[in-house]
Symmetry: C2
């Protein structure tokens, strides 16, 4: 493998390899194996195919790149540095995996410009890639004109064996095949090594055949280590197939070039060690010091000029488009700006207690359909529960192959895939607001994606119905009890459990605004009917918790609740008041929003002096101590539920006015 005089190609590829090797060595931590093996395909892809502008990483029409095998992030940092991004300098690479660096241990879109999505948890990246391709297809179908194209880019993904073992990847790739997303091109780094050793120990399926079964166009590059032409030819072929996503299996050697460690799990996730680094340098004929990259390579790989010309070309195309289609151009610009249209929220409905009650999922359905015409960037659907979640936008048709302008997405029974795809749609960065729906209990299936939506600043709305044992007959497998608590524990996720129509309006208002501000919300709605309550308001929801029923002076007791149980508090308060007690009822649609208020507001809602407190929520008591305090009590369900009509479940588990009243009296003593 020693090359006395290496070609510029070889030098470039070795530059990627040794940036990875040396950064990991310096950090004494990281994953050199993947970058060493995948450097050739990455080089060909970035040098010959990818269209992007390193000086404007957010240029709209760039090709998107995802390293789904995020542990190999030094590959991506090397590419960002070598192609001329300002976000990753050689000093940043020297700070790999250190506090405050731009080069964390896995790629983080919120830390490093040029990184499109946050990867590391395996399988998420390829599924995000499906979302990026959905966004591209949808925007192209929405805005492009027969004589003017402004949306036209590819989504490239490098994924590994680990990603291909994960169910979330399978789910997303199955639906990507169904949708025929021709501009999604995945390069599968087939290095047949995972952490436990050879993939022979646990992964012997025929991956190519599986992707064919999904409806993908599948290619194979048998020698991904040195056959750059074959890699290039495969990518060209992939681009020619426009009605199917392509999976290119690129067979490589993990840790390529390390004489004693290549093709072993030992090179996957640990520094090579001083001796082996020296041997690898010798083996690959690399005579440069750590972090010293030949100027020829830097010039050859720098894409600043080319990128500027791509962008200028697109600017021209967009200017022509704008001249011909000013209204569409203005709307497109609004999308990209992240702005909401003026008055978007003016028709959000308001209710009084005289209005008939409804299940909050029906309020949600009504609101989604009020928003759909004024927010054309709203796109989403359900994991095969469309008519239970009530998430259909009546103004639009189904997003299907060749019908990409439509906005009703059928994700199939693929909650996890749905989550990751929605994350990708948002992280396309074009102002789209994705929403994904299932039963609240099945957030468990997609929790890794919900967490990533919070971590990676995704503006998604998670629409979750059947939010308690009140869902009834389906029984404990379908009845969330611990789910609200488990979601409230996730940082940077705002959870809403609205009590009635006004609170549903308020929740959507905040959720849409947060989506535009790159933060996810999760809305929990009832299956069953709830009354419209006195005192509820959109403004109240925005504060997270607020009194809806109050008394003169200091309350004897504060009753607090969320969602369907607030009405129990109101009814109990009425009885207690009739018995001469001073009662406040606090509706708490969102703990996170309440915690974000100032101390004065918090004290005004829950005065320290009022120690008699009762919470009512059809979920576990976990977490409520913070609000009820040591003298309070939580009406809760700290066991699993049961199969029976919803009303029976609520009654039997203590969610009745009588029980709330009894417990309130016990607290009052």
């Amino acid at each position: 493998m020693v090359a006395a005089t290496q070609s510029l190609q070889e030098l470039s590829i070795n530059s990627i390899r040794f940036l990875a090797v040396d950064a990991v060595e310096k950090a004494k931590s990281g994953h050199p194996g993947l970058p060493m093996g995948a450097a050739p395909m990455a080089y060909v892809l970035w040098n010959q195919f990818m269209r992007f502008n390193p000086k404007n990483p957010k240029w709209f029409n760039r090709d998107r790149f995802i390293l789904s095998a995020g542990h190999g992030c030094m590959l991506q940092y090397a590419l960002l540095y070598l192609t001329g991004y300002d976000s990753v300098t050689i000093e940043d690479i020297k700070q790999f995996r250190q506090w405050g660096s731009k080069t964390p241990g896995h790629p983080e879109n919120f830390e490093t410009e040029g990184v499109e999505v946050t990867t590391g948890p395996l399988g998420q990246g390829i599924a995000n890639g499906v979302g990026l391709a959905v966004a591209e297809a949808h925007l192209a179908a929405t805005f492009n004109k027969p004589d003017a194209t402004i949306v036209d880019h590819y989504t490239y993904v490098i994924l590994g064996d680990g990603c291909n073992m994960e169910g979330v990847a399978g789910e997303a790739c199955s639906i990507a095949g169904h949708w025929g997303l021709g501009k999604l091109i995945a390069l599968y780094d087939d290095n047949h090594i995972s952490i436990d050793g050879s993939t022979d120990v646990a992964f012997t399926e025929d991956v190519s055949k599986r992707f064919e079964a999904y409806g993908w166009h599948v290619l194979h590059v048998p020698n991904g280590n040195t056959d750059l032409d074959a890699i290039a030819k495969a990518i060209e072929e992939a681009k020619k197939v426009t009605d199917k996503p392509t999976m290119i299996k690129v067979t490589t050697t993990i840790g390529y070039g390390s004489p004693n460690k290549q093709d072993t799990a030992g090179v996957h996730g640990a520094a090579l060690g001083t001796d082996e680094v020296a041997l690898t340098r010798k083996n690959l004929g690399w005579n440069y010091e750590p972090f010293d990259i030949p100027q020829d390579v830097l010039s050859h790989m720098n894409k600043a000029e080319q990128g500027a010309s791509y962008e200028a070309e697109w600017d021209q195309a967009f200017a022509a488009y704008k001249a011909k289609y000013p209204a569409e151009a203005a709307e497109f610009e609004r999308y990209l700006s992240g702005q909401l249209p003026d008055g978007w929220d003016k028709d959000l409905p308001k209710f009084t207690p005289d209005d008939d009650g409804l299940p909050t999922r029906k309020h949600s359905a009504a609101i989604l359909n009020i928003l759909a015409p004024v927010l054309p960037e709203l796109i989403g659907g359900s994991a095969d529960l469309t008519h239970s979640n009530l998430t259909e936008l009546k103004v639009s048709g189904d997003f299907q192959k060749g019908e990409y302008a439509n906005r009703n997405v059928h994700f199939g029974v693929r909650e996890h895939g749905m989550g990751a795809i929605c994350n990708g749609i948002s992280l396309h960065g074009s102002g789209l607001i994705p929403y994904g729906a299932t039963f609240l209990i099945f957030t468990d299936y997609m929790r890794a994606s919900i967490r990533l939506s919070a971590l990676s600043q995704v503006g998604a709305i998670w629409v979750m119905t059947h939010d308690s044992i009140g869902q009834g007959e389906d029984g404990p497998t379908h009845q969330p009890v611990e789910v609200l608590a488990s979601l409230r524990a996730i940082p940077d996720l705002t959870v809403f459990r609205p009590a009635d129509g006004n609170e549903c309006s308020g929740a959507y208002k905040v959720a849409v605004e947060k989506a535009k501000a790159h933060a996810p919300s999760l809305l929990a709605f009832t299956r069953q009917k709830v009354p419209n309550l006195p005192g509820t308001s959109m403004e109240g929801v925005a504060k997270g918790a607020y009194p809806i029923v109050d008394c003169d002076g200091t309350p004897d007791i504060i009753l607090m609740g969320t969602g369907s149980e607030v009405s129990l508090c109101v009814a109990a308060a009425e009885k207690l008041t009739g018995e001469g007690k001073k009662v406040r009822v606090v509706s708490m649609p969102s703990w996170e929003l309440f915690e974000a208020q100032d101390e004065a507001y918090k004290e005004s809602v829950f005065p320290k002096a009022v120690t008699k407190r009762l919470s009512v929520e059809a979920g576990v008591s976990f977490g409520w101590s913070k609000y009820v305090g040591p003298e309070g009590y939580s009406v809760s369900i700290d066991t699993f539920g049961a199969s029976a009509p919803g009303g029976t479940c609520m009654e039997k588990f203590g969610f009745s006015v009588d029980n709330v009243l009894a417990k309130a009296k016990a607290v009052l003593g």
Copy 2:
């Protein structure tokens, strides 16, 4: 379709159909479509192939049956009733989906004898089936002798389109193909309808080809509605292939027989309605009243006699085995009894503060290897993190195709599949103790299975390492912060975060005992080294929380913590004591065990009079209010983590003796 005189077969199949139709009609809730379409395959399977004894549902060597499409549970209840189980009477069927009934809305193993596993959350059942087949293969390889077979049964699964869309099913089926589990036979009810309508809207992949890619033997019955011979022939063929699991795609019509609703989503999950029920009766020539089953059918389908003879035959075989192999037979009987061997825990290690500290994951590794020789029923492994989780049993080899007696299971990067497979291994009911390992953060990927382990009384041990930001460089995607809270919220799951070697021993002791008592435990271990502490003990762990450092009289302050942060409390307490304060340190390895103690014990640990309290845990504060109270404070991390060396992360986020000391002083005022 009208049959003037129906054959006994037709009558039997229609009995299944109308039990489902009428039970759903009576409940006004449920899923008639699947039972109506899958009745023929279920009839053939249960009547012609399945070996079981309805009068002893727990007979060890029975064939196992799982209805992975659990919403169609009336199919299973009908089969249990018709074949003569006592667990489901006709009165029970009339109570379908009612409070306290034996016929809940999805099959629940803990409610209804004859139901092997709890299904409903889609994809779990087929993955549990892989676990049952693993258990069978392992026990057969362990106990059978060339001249004596005592373990020899099939695992049959009926799954639907929904299951086949779920990632968890794909993960489990991929590894099942790898393992070549020949006695796993899945019947795929290919009715091309899911809740959103035709599978054309979201599920057009070639499922058979995908299963071939997994290495399965795949068959197709094109007419599953009436071609009973083809169904029987396919099952026969499936049984002949002993080195691969078989997937039989059985094409059916959902809601078969309902003239206006069959082959539509309308029959999936709602009662047919009075008129359509009448039309369906007419159409299928069914002249019986609701819940009235012809005596001929009851006699024909009753398996009490046949089952008794199967069992008697096996009893004889076991008696012969016992005569020849008394030691093995005794051990086999111990397995089935659920008893632990005498003195199994006597070598669990104990430590003093003079012993060198270790990462708790290393204590875990040592303990697993101390237990492995004395608990041969311990079987498990990691989702491709064997050498990070340190879960290898050195006494055994790898569980692989043809090497089924081995106990080290490589699950591949398939956390969710691992969870469901472990659940299946436990629910085989033969005393095996499965364990599954990954990084704590990736419990998010398998949360649905962990929840089901708690709900369905699975004796599994979840071994989770890298339990905080202390894991370091991998960064926030790999650093759990909210995970402990989210797991503590799950009912009936016992979560442990041991602080040192003694507490690791104590945690495993309880976890193993709980496994035998059909309850899951989750153990969270550090990546990084922690010291051995004063006062820790196995006995203390069993109480969940206990003082490890104490003062005379009433403490001025109680410092409490878990895992790696307990040592910070101990160090801070030492300094505070030096400054004349009276300090108690409470180690809280398991909140659940503490909550199970009596009030007197709880008061003794956390006296109400001591209101100055500080908790220290490298996770979110969510939930800690219960213990620190309104005057206390939680040293916590309520944001996501960061990529940096673990020690740096801990220090920067405030997990240092100095910060604990400062916060303790602030609490003291």
